[in-house]
């Protein structure tokens, strides 16, 4: 029976939500081709997570564990997963579009003669055998449908937040796979620093508040952070604000920054350039705060307030807090 694999993303002891989102994408495909949905862990120690995986639809759980996989190393991770792919020949392999998956799946695709498509916003089967992927191209400017030539497996990563986790009632049968891995003298991890974040990661955030040139300096971003915190939102910026040195590059949203699609995007003191819009135009609801009634952003938003951001933001933050 054919299988659809879902890569497990684990942080410390918990399975990250993206895994359940991808399991939900896999369950959608299963309806088309009847394949078995399998979770697949690659790392040094998975812990007891099969019950959680089962709850979200995994019928089988392949554990690929090896002490050499303690630190992430793209070549070794690729070697481990490729070996097990060759053994079981899954039709489809899915994972979250995480930095780690982006870093090693291209190698897996090479080694297993697979096709690979990153950052799907939707997946479907055109027939019972061909995977079709929808993804953005030209940043948010177009949506492409990509299909696979006659290759197996078909590998895709799924954008975070693109699917909602759906609870199933499978219980995952555990299959342990051991792999022999060489030591890799070519790649050494010297130090890993996890930098605690005060706010949600932009690519994962459900809501985002971003500031632009209208903020006038770095300190003024406080009003953006206050609004963000009242909403539980991530904080972003336009390139103008980043280039002025007010906030770090990791906050930049746009064609040459992060491409995001939250449920709510609030653009504050941002004019709405083509390049900025390319990074956030697919947000579900866009709100603009700008003092210029002719700002282009007012032609492509759902709601807006035309006024001075330094007056509007504190008031809006108050009103949001009042709603509770």
């Amino acid at each position: 029976m054919s299988e659809i694999w879902v890569l497990v993303d684990k942080a410390q002891d918990t399975v990250r939500n993206v895994t359940y989102e991808v399991l939900s994408a896999a369950s959608k495909l299963k309806e088309k081709n009847g394949a078995t949905v399998c979770a697949v862990y690659v790392g040094d120690n998975s812990g007891a997570i099969e019950a959680d995986l089962g709850k979200y639809g995994a019928e089988k759980f392949y554990k690929i564990e090896n002490p050499a996989l303690k630190d992430f190393n793209p070549s070794l991770y690729a070697a481990a997963l490729s070996e097990v792919i060759k053994k079981h020949n899954p039709d489809i392999v899915l994972g979250g579009n995480t930095l780690q998956n982006q870093d090693f799946l291209p190698r897996v695709a090479s080694r297993t003669a697979a096709g690979l498509c990153l950052d799907a916003i939707d997946v479907d089967m055109s027939s019972s055998s061909t995977l079709q992927v929808k993804r953005y191209k030209y940043s948010g400017k177009s949506i492409a449908t990509i299909s696979f030539h006659d290759v197996k497996p078909m590998i895709a990563t799924v954008r975070l937040n693109a699917f909602k986790p759906t609870e199933g009632s499978a219980s995952a049968e555990v299959v342990s796979e051991s792999v022999d891995l060489p030591s890799d003298e070519n790649y050494k991890v010297i130090e890993t620093k996890i930098i605690p974040k005060e706010r949600p990661e932009l690519t994962e955030a459900d809501k985002i508040v971003s500031g632009g040139r209208g903020m006038a300096n770095g300190e003024n971003f406080k009003v953006v952070y206050d609004l963000a915190d009242s909403l539980g939102a991530g904080a972003g910026a336009s390139r103008a604000a980043v280039d002025s040195g007010w906030v770090p590059y990791e906050m930049q949203v746009g064609q040459t920054g992060k491409v995001v699609s939250p449920n709510l995007y609030v653009a504050v003191g941002i004019s709405g350039s083509v390049q900025h819009y390319a990074g956030m135009g697919s947000s579900k609801v866009i709100v603009a705060i700008n003092k210029d009634p002719d700002a282009p952003i007012f032609q492509k938003c759902d709601y807006g307030i035309c006024g001075d951001l330094f007056d509007v933001l504190p008031a809006l933050t108050d009103e949001i807090k009042k709603l509770g």
């Binding site: 695709a109 090479s110 990153l118 974040k197 930049q252 709510l264 307030i305």
Partner: protein, 270 residues
């Protein structure tokens, strides 16, 4: 030391994207082309290493006739020579096939110590080509570098990379592939004398017969889309239809209260 930067030409970020008549690509007639903005950082990084160590910087691209401009821009920034793989048979390749073609050419160039690339190409955003190249050459890679330190003595490169939730420092044996994160440096503008000089720098043109297709395991007649594993069936341009409810901010408190209410009751988003 020899550094190879792989670069690509891309439509200007202002460009309006429209589907072509077959519906699976874009209209390219009126488009202005530029060096992929992410690749500028890779070229700049290479030139900075050259200034410190005297390394030689070669710039390579795969693309149509016009994409030689991406090489020229890179040479004007300080690269030494170019390699332009430009046969029509290479059109419509996916990143897998591109990785094979580029990898094969790098093998025949020999003695490359470090391969630098942009983090992604702003149009296709496959984010795979440099890793496919590393795999093809069986060498290590580090992506999203915010710092690159080459140690010629020990033949290693120390790379600080962005990872989920933080950063990681890695040491790679050369040769290695490194993709750079935007903001790693400030790419210089090509000066007028730089542009004049770039015109005289050597640029090798490579046709399909200049690539050893046996070695890459793709038959010469299976290059291009036939050597690819995925294909684009169709491209849609999403239309912007937003409700455009803009409130006057004369009475800020009232406008804010109304917006909060709309977000809760109409958009049901908070």
């Amino acid at each position: 030391m020899k550094i190879l930067v792989i670069v690509r030409q891309t439509p200007d970020t202002e460009a309006k994207i429209q589907a072509n008549s077959s519906g699976n690509g874009i209209q390219t007639d009126d488009i202005k082309w530029i060096l992929n903005p992410f690749d500028e950082f890779a070229v700049e990084e290479a030139v900075q290493i050259k200034e410190k160590t005297g390394a030689e910087v070669v710039v390579l691209t795969v693309g149509a006739e016009r994409s030689v401009d991406a090489i020229r821009t890179s040479l004007a920034m300080g690269g030494d020579s170019g390699v332009h793989i430009k046969d029509d048979s290479f059109a419509d390749m996916d990143s897998f096939a591109l990785g094979k073609v580029i990898g094969s050419k790098i093998k025949s160039l020999g003695d490359i110590d470090l391969i630098l690339a942009g983090k992604k190409w702003i149009d296709e955003e496959s984010s795979q080509v440099p890793i496919q190249v590393a795999e093809e050459l069986d060498i290590p890679q580090a992506t999203l570098a915010t710092k690159v330190e080459v140690d010629e003595g020990s033949k290693t490169v120390k790379v600080t990379s962005v990872i989920e939730g933080g950063e990681e420092i890695r040491e790679l044996k050369l040769p290695a592939v490194v993709t750079v994160e935007q903001g790693i440096n400030e790419p210089r503008y090509a000066s007028l004398p730089g542009i004049m000089k770039a015109k005289k720098k050597p640029c090798e043109e490579v046709g399909v017969d200049g690539i050893n297709s046996d070695e890459i395991g793709i038959a010469a007649d299976a290059l291009g889309s036939a050597g690819s594993r995925v294909k684009t069936d169709n491209i849609e341009i999403p239309t912007i239809s937003r409700s455009l409810k803009v409130l006057e901010g004369n009475d800020v408190q009232q406008a804010s209260a109304e917006l909060a209410k709309l977000l809760r009751e109409e958009a049901k988003i908070i």
